[in-house]
């Protein structure tokens, strides 16, 4: 649609050195592609309009002219009104706007939620995302896997205040509104990890409410689903076994689920396959052993305001708990 060099120039403006940057211009799916093209078209139109108006504005200011003591020029005001105001101020803008409107409407109509066998429920919480795969019967958090090249329907809800679900490289945003189910869809045309964010201010940790969409080739996707469906494996080494006891006897199980154990609470994220996820605290930290220990010890220090309370444990117990959590692959 746009000449390639122009698109390239514009993309360089929003250049990304590596993948994973949430740019709306470096898109990877049909919905975001269409909007990016619309955006480039509008920006080019805008630049032309701006340039014309600037010439019209600046020229009479800088051109100088005779002294101000002269009587005003005699002009045919009716004709000036017609040319400048009716044509320049009303008709031309109307034509441009009509064009923008028609293009926008076309993209809007094309963006209806397609039917698809792939459906995911996403529920916004202060400040993390619950992700449910109802057809497969498992729940995870802050990480959504989709098969490449297939549309995936997303049903959006909120557990508390209003959030907004946004994966800039794949699709525009849709709000997750309390007491309401909204629908959107995602499709990625190439494998990759795409950053998503909460886009509606939702309180203290709105800044740390990100997630990732992982677009896998079909085989990888099926393998991931097969793994997520499985309950947590029973730990084998002694440290992890002790950690599991800690998990079940301490406050952890009041809020979290680990399928395959008695822990079944739904307040916080489902931890059945915690170790397979990329981040902790909805993108607040990388998922590493050290971060995990620090998070459990005092989550509020790492993500002030988070609903998870600190869990005071001595060093050995904490190590055991982390060892157990690391087995949850």
């Amino acid at each position: 649609m746009m000449p390639a060099p122009v698109t390239a120039l514009f993309q360089s403006l929003t250049r990304q050195a590596s993948g994973g940057r949430p740019s709306t211009q470096h898109t990877a799916g049909p919905a975001a592609d269409a909007i990016a093209r619309l955006g480039v078209g509008m920006i080019i139109t805008a630049a032309i309009v701006f340039a014309v108006v600037m010439v019209l504005l600046v020229w009479p200011i800088i051109r100088g002219g005779s002294t101000s003591e002269d009587a005003p020029r005699v002009i045919d005001e009716r004709r000036w009104e017609f040319r400048w105001i009716v044509v320049g101020g009303a008709l031309v803008p109307m034509l441009i706007l009509a064009g923008v409107f028609v293009f926008s409407l076309g993209i809007m109509r094309a963006d209806g939620v397609p039917s698809s066998p792939y459906e995911v429920e996403v529920i916004g919480h202060q400040w993390w995302w619950e992700v449910r795969y109802p057809a497969n019967g498992f729940v995870t958090a802050n990480e959504i896997h989709i098969p490449v090249g297939r549309p995936v329907r997303i049903h959006l809800r909120s557990a508390d205040v209003i959030h907004s679900f946004w994966v800039p490289q794949l699709q525009g945003k849709t709000d997750a509104i309390t007491g309401q189910v909204n629908e959107t869809w995602l499709q990625a045309n190439r494998p990759g990890v795409y950053r998503g964010e909460c886009a509606e201010f939702c309180g203290l940790q709105h800044a740390h409410m990100s997630f990732v969409v992982v677009a896998d080739a079909q085989g990888d996707y099926d393998a991931w689903v097969a793994n997520q469906v499985r309950p947590a494996a029973v730990p084998t080494d002694s440290s992890a076994l002790m950690g599991q006891k800690v998990f079940l006897s301490q406050s952890c199980s009041y809020c979290h689920t680990v399928r395959g154990t008695p822990a079944g609470a739904r307040v916080g994220p489902d931890l059945t396959h915690l170790a397979s996820r990329r981040t902790l605290g909805a993108g607040a930290l990388d998922n590493s052993r050290g971060n995990l220990a620090a998070w459990i010890e005092n989550p509020d220090r790492l993500k002030p305001g988070t609903k998870m309370p600190p869990v005071p444990l001595d060093g050995a117990t904490l190590q055991a708990l982390v060892a157990y959590l690391e087995t949850l692959r």
């Binding site: 009104e81 409107f101 809007m108 709105h206």
Partner: protein, 625 residues
């Protein structure tokens, strides 16, 4: 004639006393106070923003806690939108409207004083919270249910709700006053189609205020009922709807955008022809564009809600309406451009520079506005820094730049002293460059996926460098504003004398001395065209009694359409009633805030008694001749 002036001085001149300072009902003193106080709030809001930019200069910054950041961005928004942008224009309106239409005061001078005091006191209530770290923290848009007692327990949101309800009283009273003044007190001969264009914009704005504020008031009352008394307007668990808040808020909120830019465009339509040395081209078009902007402004609110899942058909409608509203703006811009082209020469004063800057920023903000009016584009741009860029181009470009232009233009009228033109140029260029360095990169940040209202961000997402540049730009912009303050202060000591008409302008306000005498006009002038001082129209013969009005404190009332003289309007003396009533209402609101029946009830009784005293009929005040 001088004996008339002496008599008028004796009648109108306020005594220099402490009592008079508190009791004044003079539109010029009140207007000046609005200007000073709203500039103070501009500085406060700017300070909030300076802290935010400091925090955002680098990724993962820990200068501010998330709570502090949330309070700062909330206070920044509410302060700028409610306690700076609109009151600043009320200040110019209060000072200038009577002078521009040839009247001696506003229609309801005591109500005018009351508006000012309630404005000041509501602003103080609004700022109590931040001194104790419990300021509002849910954004100026305060979306339910984040503001409910479950998610925002404590005082924070109460300061927002109650201060805004209180301010609405002030704003409504002020708007009614402008409507009555402009419709019934114009000088004989100033028919509606000869009014200065600023009157059209002030009238449109005031009507919009009267029609849109009730939506906000209702939204706020519902919120308080939810928070305190277990109602559930916004609680979906019991059949309420969070989106109700958004509809009510934006039904008010979008007209409000035009409320804080239209008076400014009206001021530009006054200043720009002066520096072009010719009358504006397309007066009727500009007047009609102003009115239609106000009207269409009521039909665009849901463009703030394109991501909420409302039906596509509705989105299409609001998208079309939002694009349509840019056409009257384009009409105004092209009327100004035509006027500049028709000029023999445009005088490049500081005022004119700020007007040119305003048009540049207006065009950028208008174009980005059309972009976000496109539904699919908005799905990406909504709630990102792209919108932050857009709204600051609109509000700084279309409110602050015309306001600074207006200060350079009309402050000499108000104080009798010219501002320095050399410093003015520095002032303009630093503000203009600072503004663009701060806000232009935000468009790119938004397209790169940076959401709004985040207190920090991770490094390495392509946001770091632009954020740092913006922070430096913000400091440069602040320096520009500081130069303006220096220029104003300096002018009072060493500014050149202004004389009555330093710009050789056409409006009636330039026919009186600078600063104007307390009674404004010795004789109520007559008007024969849209540009009274340029048309060579001379007052002939002795003015009739109805235009002299030198026996008591009076001004002239005229008919709505043609401004035929139809009655004498007695004007009130200084009185403490407006201040006392404002204080009583403040006590009511403090009672509500701190849940004290004693304070609330006592304040209410006092307010009712004072209102009764205010309304008490008196025999010596005849309304008609």
């Amino acid at each position: 004639m001088s004996s008339t002036a002496e008599r008028l001085t004796a009648i109108w001149e306020p005594p220099r006393s402490v009592y008079s300072w508190f009791a004044t009902v003079d539109h010029k003193r009140i207007g000046m106070r609005y200007l000073v106080v709203s500039f103070f709030f501009l500085a406060l809001g700017g300070l909030d923003a300076a802290f935010m930019r400091m925090q955002l200069a680098r990724p993962e910054s820990h200068l501010l806690t998330p709570e502090a950041y949330d309070q700062l961005f909330t206070m920044h928004g509410t302060t700028m939108i409610f306690w700076y942008a609109s009151p600043m224009l009320s200040g110019f309106g209060n000072y200038l409207v009577p002078l521009m239409i040839g009247s001696r005061d506003m229609a309801f001078p005591r109500l005018n004083a009351f508006s000012f005091w309630t404005y000041l006191l509501s602003g103080m209530i609004h700022y109590i919270g931040i001194t104790r770290g419990i300021a509002p923290h849910a954004g100026w848009f305060a979306y339910a249910p984040l503001t409910s007692s479950a998610y925002s327990p404590g005082y924070n949101t109460e300061f927002y709700t109650l201060a805004l309800l209180f301010l609405a009283i002030s704003t409504t009273a002020g708007a009614i006053n402008f409507i009555a003044t402009i419709l019934t007190m114009r000088a004989p001969g100033m028919s509606l189609n000869r009014m200065p264009l600023m009157m059209w914009s002030t009238l449109t704005t005031s009507a919009s205020i009267v029609m849109s504020l009730p939506a906000l008031t209702a939204a706020l009352v519902f919120l308080e009922l939810d928070r305190r008394y277990g109602f559930h307007f916004y609680d979906p668990v019991r059949g309420g709807a969070p989106l109700l808040w958004q509809h009510l808020f934006w039904l008010f909120g979008h007209p409000w955008v035009y409320i804080i830019i239209l008076p400014a465009t009206g001021m530009v339509s006054m200043m720009l022809p002066t520096f072009s040395r010719r009358r504006i081209i397309g007066y009727d078009f500009v007047a009609m564009a102003t009115v239609s902007t106000g009207l269409i402004g009521f039909g665009v609110w849901a463009h703030h809600m394109f991501a909420t899942g409302i039906p596509h058909l509705a989105e299409g409608f609001f998208s079309a309406a939002s694009m349509t509203v840019s056409i009257p703006s384009a009409v105004q811009i092209f009327a100004w451009l035509a006027t500049l082209w028709a000029a023999r020469r445009v005088e490049r004063t500081t005022s004119m520079l700020f007007i040119v800057g305003f048009i540049v920023l207006f065009v950028i903000g208008g174009i980005s506005g059309v972009m976000v009016a496109s539904v699919p584009f908005d799905w990406q741009a909504h709630d990102t820094y792209f919108v932050v860029a857009h709204l600051h181009y609109v509000l700084i470009g279309m409110n602050l730049f015309p306001v600074i232009a207006a200060f350079y233009y009309w402050l000499p009228k108000m104080t009798g002293r010219m501002l320095d033109e050399r410093l003015g140029r520095w002032n303009f260029w630093i503000m203009f460059i600072g503004m663009n360095i701060t806000f232009f990169p935000m468009h790119i940040l938004g397209l790169r996926g940076m959401p709004r209202r985040i207190y920090t961000y991770p490094g390495g997402l392509g946001w770091d460098r632009l954020n740092l540049i913006e922070t430096w730009g913000a400091y440069l912009f602040a320096l520009g504003v500081l130069l303006f303050i220096i220029n104003v202060v300096r002018s009072q000591f060493s500014g050149a004398a202004a004389g009555s008409n330093p710009w050789k302008a056409a409006g009636l306000e330039w026919s009186v001395s600078s600063p104007p005498p307390p009674y404004n006009f010795v004789v109520i002038p007559t008007v024969a065209s849209r540009d009274p001082l340029w048309d060579g129209h001379n007052e002939v013969g002795h003015p009739r009694e109805e235009r002299l009005l030198d026996e008591s404190k009076e001004t002239l009332g005229t008919s709505v359409l043609d401004a035929e003289p139809d009655r004498r309007l007695p004007m009130p003396e200084d009185t403490l009633l407006p201040l006392l009533l404002a204080v009583a209402i403040t006590i009511v609101f403090l009672g509500l805030l701190f849940r004290s029946m004693l304070l609330g009830g006592g304040g209410l009784v006092a307010a009712l008694l004072l209102t009764a005293g205010w309304m008490w009929p008196s025999n010596d005040r005849e309304v008609t001749t």
